[in-house]
């Protein structure tokens, strides 16, 4: 990577914790250059952190919405996979009954979105959008196909590693998180500025799912595990 990232304005870690999130400005990811704010973020008075949040999506999840392989007349092409994990808060408590939304490219690396016109085939049996609610233990489970890598215009011969977009609400406005889940051992990690924008290597590792034989179902689908921790300590005071 030729350019240094800038962390200005820093998303500071609250209470002085190192910030695991990427900076707004990460010049190697070109789209940040004109979209990253330059003025420092305003720190909310601690007592006024927003601890309320929308309870959205409970009426929106259909019985097959978690299974992206059963939304059409036939099976989508590609490697069938199961992704499961738990959503926890910073204290390790399960985030219950909370909406998760996912979207992804198909096995050929093509999104059904009209903005994606690169020459890879669409799959008539795959839309690539799903949703579910976490259970009482914060668990979730999706069935889908492994997305393909795809090219983009960020730099010469730029390719996104295979990834699935995940959206979480959690209990509060401040726990809202949109992220991307990657697959272990992807050779495209080193040249991907979106993945690399997370500067802390340990934090970056947490974006990578791990292959899980226990989740894998014989003669059916490979299993991956992806656990999530949402920001914010709700009403619980920080230990010092």
């Amino acid at each position: 990577m030729a350019q240094q990232s800038s962390s200005k304005p820093t998303g500071r870690g609250r209470d002085g914790e190192a910030d695991v999130h990427p900076p707004y400005l990460y010049p190697d990811y070109k789209a940040t250059r004109l979209r990253a704010p330059e003025k420092p973020l305003v720190i909310l008075p601690e007592s006024l952190s927003e601890v309320t949040g929308p309870a959205y999506g409970h009426g929106r999840v259909g019985p097959l919405d978690h299974d992206l392989t059963r939304q059409h007349g036939g099976d989508p092409l590609g490697e069938r996979i199961i992704i499961t994990g738990r959503v926890l808060d910073g204290d390790g408590r399960p985030v219950r009954n909370s909406l998760i939304e996912v979207w992804q490219a198909n096995a050929a690396g093509r999104y059904i979105h009209q903005g994606d016109q690169h020459p890879a085939p669409l799959d008539p049996n795959f839309t690539g959008a799903g949703r579910c609610l976490t259970d009482d233990e914060g668990r979730y489970r999706f069935v889908t196909v492994k997305p393909g890598a795809y090219p983009w215009g960020n730099h010469d011969n730029a390719w996104r590693p295979a990834h699935i977009h995940f959206s979480f609400f959690g209990p509060a406005f401040r726990t809202r998180l949109i992220t991307q889940m990657y697959f272990p051992g992807d050779p495209l990690f080193d040249q991907d500025p979106i993945f690399q924008s997370v500067r802390d290597p340990k934090a970056r590792e947490r974006l990578i799912s791990r292959f899980d034989l226990e989740t894998t179902e014989p003669e059916w689908a490979l299993g991956y595990r992806f656990d999530i921790v949402l920001d914010g300590r709700a009403a619980t005071p920080m230990e010092h």
């Binding site: 707004y24 004109l34 991307q180 979106i194 924008s197 934090a203």
Partner: protein, 181 residues
């Protein structure tokens, strides 16, 4: 022991069919007797419009309480910007929000999250109301924005009738104030 959070990543350009398949730009019906409209344009640092942003709003009801405080009013909305970077939503004006014990009331406001390609994490800002000068003057969050020009970006402009305008500038001299939530 605290667990370290999962890092944020950009929403990217291809989220519409998954996140905006349901229109949540009317928090109340447009013919609701107390309906107000809020519109604006999202701009980048070059002054170009941002046609691929998603906005989410979160607000209290007219009684100043969050989450189902009134019949059927969830207080949550989300919608995209169009080809001209424009967004619009219909809601009711929230009431003043109680602070924690001993804290002053917060002036009526609406939280807005901005997600887009090129934003590696969301941006959070607040819409305040131009007809609330007194409440705005004593609002503890507005007061925490030291720069008066930056503070003024948080107050919507009154337009005709029940319409308010709240443009969002991601970068540059006119940058909107964003909060570390």
């Amino acid at each position: 022991m605290r667990l370290s959070p999962t890092p944020s990543q950009t929403v990217g350009p291809f989220f519409h069919y998954a996140l905006l398949d349901e229109d949540l730009s009317n928090l109340v019906a447009p013919d609701h007797p107390s309906a107000i409209r809020i519109e604006g344009t999202v701009y980048d640092g070059a002054g170009e419009v941002v046609p691929d942003a998603m906005l989410e709003v979160w607000q209290a009801g007219a009684d100043g309480r969050y989450a189902h405080s009134e019949d059927g009013f969830s207080g949550f909305g989300r919608f995209g910007t169009d080809d001209e970077g424009h967004y619009e939503f219909v809601t009711i004006k929230p009431g003043p929000v109680p602070g924690p014990d001993g804290q002053p009331l917060q002036a009526p406001h609406i939280w807005v999250s901005v997600f887009a390609r090129g934003l590696l994490r969301r941006l959070a800002t607040r819409v305040y109301f131009p007809d609330e000068e007194e409440a705005n003057a004593s609002d503890p969050v507005l007061a925490s924005v030291g720069d008066p020009d930056l503070r003024s970006t948080l107050v919507a402009r009154a337009m005709d009738g029940d319409l308010l305008r709240f443009d969002i500038h991601l970068q540059g001299d006119r940058q909107t104030a964003f909060f570390d939530v």
